[in-house]
């Protein structure tokens, strides 16, 4: 094989460095701005790269108030419970419909595929949640979207690709479907399950619109709602809202601090799942 030339290596290095900078720059400026004083932010036109007088004041404000901490706990609760429930439900449905000869299997499969193409809409979903008594509960964020059709198809395709001889020999040894699922199928499916888990976790973590519609009590609000409130606050104030004696809106440092707090949990989880990600994303895409 030909050895790479020095100019080829240099060009690759420069290209990669540019891409890394382009990706890292927004993140660095968000973190740096969250550690800056208001005066420095204004002097720098809004975003800081390197704070000359770093301060944790913004983090003190948002964590002392209680609303960000409470929202963080709510989001962790919804994301963890929701992810576990969704993965269990999706695995069971995918495994069940990956087996041949299941009564009504084709019909249920068609309904699942249909839901990928057509959604009920906001108001029918709202009425459904209300009628089921889920309004203003965390269950409203979890149950309506418990099984994602896309994730279901990914898992089903993977399960169908597993050698049937393994399951047949387990059946011969007296194993039932549940034991086959737990002892044979799941250990072989770590990659796609990890990916599906990450998709669900990120989806629940970022759940904003359903939380806005279904949660009236602010003590149940999740982090995206709080984040949006902080990040968008600056804009309408100029159009008639800052009245005499009003509390001034939080400055950019606080807004960036909320963004950092929202990012941290996902950043902590992702490295543990990264090794499954590439393998898992392709699973179910190519048969055989």
């Amino acid at each position: 094989m030909e050895r790479p030339t020095w100019y080829g290596l240099t060009l690759k290095f420069l290209a990669l460095a540019f891409i890394v900078l382009a990706v890292a720059y927004p993140f660095v400026s968000v973190v740096a701005t969250s550690l800056s004083t208001d005066r420095e932010i204004v002097a720098n036109g809004g975003l800081v790269i390197w704070p000359t007088e770093p301060t944790l004041d913004a983090y003190r404000v948002i964590l002392a108030g209680g609303d960000v901490t409470r929202a963080l706990v709510n989001s962790l609760f919804v994301a963890s419970i929701g992810t576990v429930a969704s993965v269990c439900a999706t695995v069971m449905m995918a495994y069940g419909l990956s087996r041949r000869g299941v009564t009504g299997g084709r019909f249920i499969l068609m309904i699942a595929l249909f839901s990928m193409l057509f959604g009920a809409g906001i108001i029918p979903n709202f009425l459904l949640v209300k009628e089921l008594g889920l309004y203003n509960t965390f269950a409203a964020l979890i149950l309506p979207g418990l099984i994602s059709a896309f994730n279901f198809i990914v898992l089903r395709s993977f399960f169908m690709g597993l050698p049937t001889e393994l399951m047949d020999s387990a059946k011969v040894d007296g194993a039932g479907d549940l034991r086959i699922l737990l002892r044979i199928v799941l250990p072989l499916s770590k990659a796609p399950i990890a990916v599906v888990s990450l998709f669900y976790a990120v989806g629940y973590w970022n759940a904003f619109f359903n939380a806005l519609l279904y949660l009236d009590d602010t003590e149940k609000w999740t982090l995206p709602l709080i984040l949006r409130l902080y990040v968008l606050q600056g804009q309408p104030m100029a159009q008639g809202e800052a009245f005499a004696g009003d509390v001034p809106p939080p400055q950019l440092a606080i807004q960036m601090a909320v963004v950092v707090v929202a990012l941290v949990p996902i950043l902590l989880v992702y490295p543990f799942l990264q090794r499954f990600f590439t393998k898992g994303v392709l699973s179910g895409a190519i048969k055989g």
């Binding site: 208001d38 005066r39 932010i41 204004v42 002097a43 036109g45 809004g46 002392a64 108030g65 209680g66 609303d67 809409g121 906001i122 108001i123 709202f126 009425l127 209300k130 309004y135 619109f209 806005l212 519609l213 009236d216 009590d217 602010t218 003590e219 609000w221 709602l225 709080i226 949006r228 409130l229 902080y230 968008l232 606050q233 600056g234 804009q235 309408p236 104030m237 100029a238 159009q239 008639g240 809202e241 800052a242 009245f243 005499a244 004696g245 009003d246 509390v247 001034p248 809106p249 939080p250 950019l252």
Partner: protein, 543 residues
């Protein structure tokens, strides 16, 4: 009718979908009498105006000009006797622009307000930027609370109001409002904006009537020997020269920041407020020769290089930062932003001296401004029996407690000693607990009449703010279509006007020419502008 700036707060697809889906449901509710677009609100009896007999102001109010206070009143007036709720519960949904407060069960200030009310006030608080989506879904799902704030988003407001809301005229028209003394202190012009489909359906969240004409930083004008912010220039030509002298790219300083609108220069050229009514016929502001001259002037300023480079893409926050940082000597921002500029700019540099811009006529003489900030939004009261409606109005009366009342202090600052203390001048200073707990948006359900006071601003602030309103309100042009409705404007007004707005943006940024305005106006008329005009003219004529 709330101004179109509320459109900026809509979420995209969600609201479009909800509005589209909600409209057929809501249309089924209404009487359907208003098909065809225009509606007449001419002959509605407004609530009597009974000024609040509160603490004597340092600067008296007169007419629409609110009173001004240099410091917080030493003695307060109790404006609501007894307990409005008598053990009952009132539910409400409203928006907030501030951090959410601690929930009801953990909020001492909220508990104190409920104690004073004598019952339970169950609030659902929604971020302002997403309020329209939540409102539309709540209405479609039949979950309307006793009081609900409305700013924009419904395509058939009269039908909705008729089907689900109380005609407040039965309780407040004329001298009936005397039972609710705080509501009676709300200016009549705010009530006029709450007339929908020929009835008084809502409670106004009133503001200062005019949004003003922006602000100037006198620190830079003083360097040119200009000391008086009301006399920056004799006419537009002189202002042009002043703007060029203020611009110093080497110091990263320019005269102006590109505004989201043309407002200050429209004021200089005496452009009417949305429409001009002449002999029963309406002419849109954009159709007037004054508007064309204002656009041409802004283009002239752009070509002279006096706008901060790149500022046409700035967000509101970036504009504010640039003005605060001294990169521009003038900014267009609503008058309610004055307290923020006053505090923040002085922190940034001790010589910063923000003051309201008072528009002068382009040819000398007086300029104009607009009645474009009469109210933020309004609150509907759900249909119920007479006793319940009165209970809700008593709560609204409490929440609208004027400045100088005990109730205002409780709603704004909390309990003295727990949520705030008083400084040497007697002004309330909130502590951390007060700052957290008092962000409950009471004033987004029913608001006190305007007053000029800023705890941190002192005499100077009050003098500037009060004198600005005293100068601006007499020259504030009303919008002749206020109180009347055009269905086409409500449904498609923004969409119809968008191509023209885009062209104006291109002209003032040097990408198109003033001569293209006439063709764009023809397109606007054909796309629906003439239809909107006709609907408003019919409504005004009472047809």
């Amino acid at each position: 009718m709330p101004a179109s700036r509320r459109d900026l707060l809509r979420t995209g697809l969600g609201v479009a979908a909800v509005g589209a889906l909600g409209t057929p449901l809501l249309a089924a509710c209404g009487g359907g009498d208003d098909e065809g677009g225009g509606s007449s609100n001419a002959s509605v009896t407004m609530p009597d105006y009974i000024p609040f007999a509160g603490p004597t102001p340092d600067l008296p109010g007169s007419g629409d000009v609110p009173p001004g206070y240099y410091s917080y009143p030493k003695s307060l007036v109790r404006s609501v006797s007894g307990t409005p709720l008598a053990g009952g519960t009132v539910t409400a949904t409203t928006m907030t622009f501030l951090p959410i407060p601690p929930p009801r069960g953990e909020n001492g200030a909220w508990a104190e307000v409920e104690k004073r009310l004598g019952g339970t006030l169950d609030l659902t608080i929604v971020p302002a930027s997403d309020y329209d989506a939540k409102f539309n879904t709540t209405v479609a799902g039949g979950e309307l609370p006793d009081m609900v704030l409305y700013s924009a988003g419904l395509n058939n407001v009269p039908q909705f109001a008729e089907a689900t809301c109380v005609d407040l005229g039965e309780y407040l028209a004329g001298d009936k409002v005397a039972e609710f003394k705080n509501l009676a202190a709300i200016p009549t012009v705010a009530w006029q904006n709450c007339v929908i489909g020929g009835k008084l359906y809502a409670l106004p969240i009133c503001r200062n009537i005019t949004g003003g004409s922006g602000f100037v930083n006198m620190r830079f004008f003083k360097e040119l020997g200009i000391e008086d912010h009301t006399k920056l220039a004799a006419n537009a030509d002189e202002f042009f020269e002043v703007a060029k002298k203020l611009t110093n790219p080497d110091k990263d300083r320019y005269a102006l920041i590109k505004f989201a609108s043309t407002t200050p220069f429209a004021h200089m050229f005496r452009v009417p407020n949305n429409w001009r009514l002449e002999g029963g016929k309406l002419v849109a502001a954009r159709e007037t020769p004054e508007y064309k001259e204002a656009i041409a002037y802004i283009r002239k300023l752009h070509d002279a290089g006096v706008f901060y480079p790149g500022s046409e893409g700035f967000t509101n926050v970036q504009r504010g930062n640039a003005f605060t940082a001294g990169q521009a000597a003038m900014i267009y921002d609503g008058l309610p932003a004055f307290p923020g500029h006053w505090t923040n700019m002085r922190k940034q540099h001790p010589d910063n001296d923000p003051r309201p811009f008072i528009p002068f006529g382009h040819d000398g003489g007086e300029g104009v401004c607009w009645q474009d900030n009469i109210m933020l939004a309004y609150t509907f009261v759900k249909k119920a029996d007479k006793d319940k409606v009165k209970e809700v109005l008593r709560v609204a009366d409490f929440l609208a407690a004027p400045f100088g009342s005990e109730e205002y202090e409780l709603l704004k600052y909390g309990v003295e000693g727990t949520h705030f203390t008083k400084d040497a001048d007697g002004n309330p200073v909130s502590n951390d607990l007060g700052t957290r707990e008092l962000t409950v948006p009471w004033d987004k359900l029913a608001a006190n009449p305007p007053v000029v006071y800023n705890a941190g601003g002192g005499k100077e602030y009050t003098d500037y703010a009060h004198s600005a309103l005293a100068s601006l309100l007499p020259i504030a042009l009303p919008d002749p279509t206020v109180g009347y409705r055009s269905e086409t404007q409500d449904k498609d007004g923004t969409k119809i006007a968008q191509p023209f707005s885009d062209l104006v943006k291109d002209i003032v940024n040097g990408r198109a020419e003033v001569s293209e305005i006439d063709a764009a106006l023809d397109e606007w008329r054909a796309a629906g502008g003439d239809k909107i005009r006709g609907e408003y003219e019919n409504a005004i004529a009472g047809k």
